[in-house]
């Protein structure tokens, strides 16, 4: 384990999107790379996701969206995070995101968007480089 221990990441499925194969593959890859992955399950509301991030003191929130609702749900989650005093939490988005929406999401404050076909090591390398955000 050459990385910082115990980087905590919440991986979330929000709304009615039930396609969880991708998020499960990423969960396993991150676990095997030494991360602590908190997966709260399908059909989470934005409020529930933010509550989970707060109570779990996560460094990162990864949102998996394959339903085309990203331009509605992601801004909502970012606002709720800010309202909750959680601006230090890095937000990643994965799933089916049209090329034209990626700059918009980044401009809103998303740290990185990982689309289909992203090699798993790319995500791991990115998170390792960024490290933990919660050291007091």
């Amino acid at each position: 384990m050459d990385q910082q221990p115990n980087v905590r990441i919440v991986l979330a499925k929000v709304g009615l999107d039930g396609h969880d194969r991708g998020v499960k593959v990423v969960s396993r890859a991150l676990r095997d790379a030494g991360f602590h992955v908190i997966y709260p399950g399908l059909w989470q509301s934005p409020e529930a996701v933010v509550r989970t991030v707060a109570d779990e003191d996560a460094d990162w929130l990864g949102i998996s969206l394959l339903s085309g609702t990203h331009m509605t749900l992601v801004p909502k989650i970012l606002k709720l995070l800010a309202d909750a005093g959680l601006t230090h939490v890095g937000v990643l988005v994965g799933g089916i995101i049209p090329e034209t929406d990626i700059p918009k999401l980044l401009a809103l404050g998303v740290s990185k968007v990982f689309g289909p076909g992203t090699p798993l090591p790319e995500i791991i390398t990115y998170l390792r480089a960024e490290g933990s955000r919660t050291h007091a």
Partner: protein, 299 residues
């Protein structure tokens, strides 16, 4: 930074609570945090839920938490899941089976990774419990990782240990081997809506009625049907204190003393290392070395 955090914790700032639990789980600033939360307030019940993987611990913890919330009690849940001994990684998925009520501030759920070798609960869980009790939660539910043989640490951490079994899960010799009931204050036949629950209950009762067994409540509970939760909480709340053991306060002090010794062993490495070297060179026998070590640590 830390002082500020601990002041916020004292002011019941929930984000500060979450961060302090992170520090505790990382083993950082333990002494300062311990001072800040003082002793666990008397009467904050700690209930451990244990049992084999897949028996329904998370689900039952979730149902119990909902039940307690309905009764007006605030609840903190510490849900332990295993951490890989190879990579240090962990997939913490207990929240999947627990209630998702973001507006309810009377419910706090925290997932913690338990390294192997820590007896099915995470390191420093005792201090996490104290932090949560000091924060003012009425009840603390501690979910262990799927327990196996000899995971008895929960017994020292919790006032009441609830052991879960399910129908069609081996015969009584399996449990005798596993020693699962040794730690139990309450035994729950979970998934009691499945066939075989009554026979299971009969087997458990027979086993527990053998000479030399303690008085242990046995209940059938179905989380799927929401049956038996009332009776379960009743059994937990009225569980008789364990006889023939140090009282919890004394155990707390003993554990605290052990932790102080461990911390000093680390802090005073300068004095400890030469002693260890002398022992390795056989200038001292083990008993003498241990004796001198105690002086180094206590003086």
């Amino acid at each position: 930074m830390l002082d500020d955090l601990l002041v916020r914790l004292g002011n019941r700032d929930r984000l500060a609570l979450a961060r302090v639990l992170t520090l505790v789980s990382r083993g950082e600033h333990l002494a300062a945090i311990r001072r800040a939360v003082a002793a666990r307030p008397e009467g904050t019940p700690v209930v451990a839920i244990t049992g084999n993987a897949g028996v329904g611990k998370s689900t039952l913890v979730g149902k119990l938490a909902e039940h307690l919330r309905t009764a007006g009690k605030s609840v903190a849940v510490l849900a332990c899941d295993p951490q890989s001994p190879l990579t240090g990684g962990a997939l913490l998925g207990d929240r999947v089976r627990m209630p998702s009520k973001p507006d309810d501030l009377g419910l706090f759920i925290r997932s913690v990774a338990a390294a192997s070798g820590h007896q099915a609960v995470a390191e420093h869980v005792d201090l996490m419990i104290r932090v949560l009790a000091a924060f003012g939660f009425d009840v603390i539910l501690l979910e262990t990782v799927g327990a196996g043989q000899g995971d008895t640490a929960v017994r020292d951490l919790a006032d009441v240990v609830v052991v879960l079994v399910q129908p069609e899960s081996g015969d009584e010799m399996q449990w005798e081997k596993a020693g699962l009931f040794e730690v139990a204050d309450v035994v729950v036949i979970h998934k009691a809506d499945l066939p075989g629950a009554e026979r299971m209950e009969a087997q458990v009762r027979e086993l527990l009625s053998l000479p030399g067994c303690r008085e242990i409540a046995v209940l059938r509970v179905s989380s799927a049907k929401g049956q038996g939760l009332d009776q379960l909480w009743n059994a937990i709340a009225h569980c008789p204190k364990r006889a023939g053991e140090l009282e919890p306060a004394a155990q707390l002090l003993l554990r605290r003393a052990q932790q102080v010794l461990a911390e000093r062993l680390h802090d005073r490495a300068g004095s400890v290392t030469p002693l260890v070297d002398r022992w390795k060179r056989r200038e001292l026998d083990e008993a003498q070395a241990a004796d001198e070590l105690l002086h180094v640590l206590v003086d």
